[in-house]
């Protein structure tokens, strides 16, 4: 069995009186695409926010590469090789497309204030490398022509692609994708699906939250289903599609969509 890159153990988080995530455990093997699905408010994005360090869990642990990370600050988790995108695209709108990806390279480099102020040779050569890396990432998602535009001026589909390019710039081993297809038309969704499948080929492990069941069932190796903060099922897409508890949870939503 492949090594588990990420393991979530008995995760619970309470906001005031509300239990948003309730005793959830699952693991993600290195090299796989795992999907987190469930009705709205099931706690999917909350789990993402715990794993990436935005929230601290009330109870439970998160292991990444065997290290417990649930108490680490966000930027430390990121520099361990875990990157993410956001449900409501969070680009740096005040910066250019290229600069956005250059920020993505942040964790890979070291030069600080002194280097910047005196423009030391080490800093300049790092800067050159950052620029090259960022340009290559842009090319990979087909955005090289928009490099010098303000990120906020891109159409929505391209903003989503840019977010992925930025997340990849730190050369992560593990990527959290929060609804990569939300708000995209069907052609753009196919395109994003290709990008994600391509990432897997390059050896990046992916955990994604997504509402587009077609996309989820197509690209995922395994699926975890949440409802009201609890895990109600886990398995291959085929197993999930036939799981009674899952169908019950989705009753009222369009079951057809799942097949």
């Amino acid at each position: 069995m492949a090594q588990q890159l990420l393991e979530v153990r008995n995760l619970t988080i309470k906001f005031g009186g509300l239990v948003a995530v309730n005793d959830v455990s699952f693991g993600v093997d290195a090299g796989m695409i795992k999907a987190l699905i469930g009705p709205n408010g099931a706690g999917k994005t909350t789990i993402f926010n715990i794993v990436s360090g935005v929230y601290k869990p009330t109870l439970g642990q998160v292991f990444f590469k065997g290290v417990s990370i649930e108490k680490l600050p966000q930027h430390k988790i990121a520099s361990l090789g875990l990157s993410r995108t956001f449900q409501n695209v969070q680009l740096f709108g005040n910066m250019t497309v290229l600069e956005n990806v250059m920020v993505g390279c942040h964790a890979k480099f070291k030069s600080g204030m002194i280097g910047a102020v005196f423009r030391l040779p080490s800093m300049l050569s790092e800067e050159r490398k950052i620029r090259e890396m960022a340009a290559a990432r842009l090319e990979a998602v087909g955005l090289e022509d928009s490099a010098s535009l303000p990120a906020g001026s891109l159409p929505f589909g391209k903003q989503k692609a840019l977010e992925i390019a930025r997340a990849l710039a730190s050369e992560p081993d593990f990527l959290l994708l929060d609804e990569p297809a939300a708000g995209l038309n069907s052609a753009e969704t196919v395109e994003i699906g290709k990008i994600i499948a391509d990432l897997k080929k390059r050896g990046i492990t992916i955990l994604l939250v997504e509402h587009d069941m077609g996309l989820v069932m197509n690209i995922s190796d395994e699926v975890v289903v949440l409802d009201y903060g609890k895990k109600i099922a886990e398995g291959t897409p085929r197993e999930i599609q036939n799981n009674q508890a899952v169908i019950a949870a989705y009753l009222g939503e369009d079951i057809e969509q799942m097949v």
Partner: protein, 282 residues
Amino acid sequence: MGGSYAIIALGYTIIYNGTNIINFAQGEFVMLGGLFMVTLTGKFGLSIFPAFLIAVAATALVGLLVERLAIHPLRNADVMSVIIVTIGMSILLRGIAMLVWGKDAYAAQHFSGDKPIEILGATILPQSFWVIGIMILVVVALQVFYRFTITGKAMLACAVNKTAARLMGVNVENMLMLSFVLSGALGAVAGIIIAPITLAKYDAGVMLGLKGFCACILGGLGSGTGAVVGGLLLGVIESLGAGLISSGYKDAIAFLILLIALFLRPQGLLPLKEMMMRQESH
């Protein structure tokens, strides 16, 4: 003193509740209220009650002008611009007040004589009773307004979610204007009732405004009862501090308390649950 902080704090709360804006010109409403009152009772020889009404109405009008001229054009701008425009407005109002009334401090007429009353060994100015009484009146009136009138409810709805309020048929723009009118009026009330105690002057609004703001943060921004409790608390702590440490540092104490309140609740005093709801609703 605490009572007037409470009323100023309520002024901030009204604007914050209606618009999510913190109005740095709030202190200027207080200053204007006091100065209008001085002129109306002095120069025009009006008696207290009509002068009070006219001064409040005039300041409310200034509130309306501030909203129309400065806030409305910035309805889509970021927080920083709004902060700076309200600061600019406060400088402008202060400058105009200086031109109109000069740099002198005016003693306003006490509502019912300035002979101190002795109660339980403490000497208290009759004006203090007016301050507390009017504060209670204002609090009750506001509660009634928010709880039992359609307009009050609509105003709260605007603060929670402008879009949703608009969909429910609330005229958001009118509500914003009304928020400023109301808080202008409240600022004036505070200014009028404390003018006899503290003197009215063109730059009196700065400190009073800031103190009111401290009170507001202390009690929890956006909460009416919080504003009152915060105001009274601040008044008490200040006079204690002035007695125990030094009266020169009295103002520093208010701001120290403000900082401590902010540091202890860095999430900005919003309950955590509400914060999470906002995250999820994105």
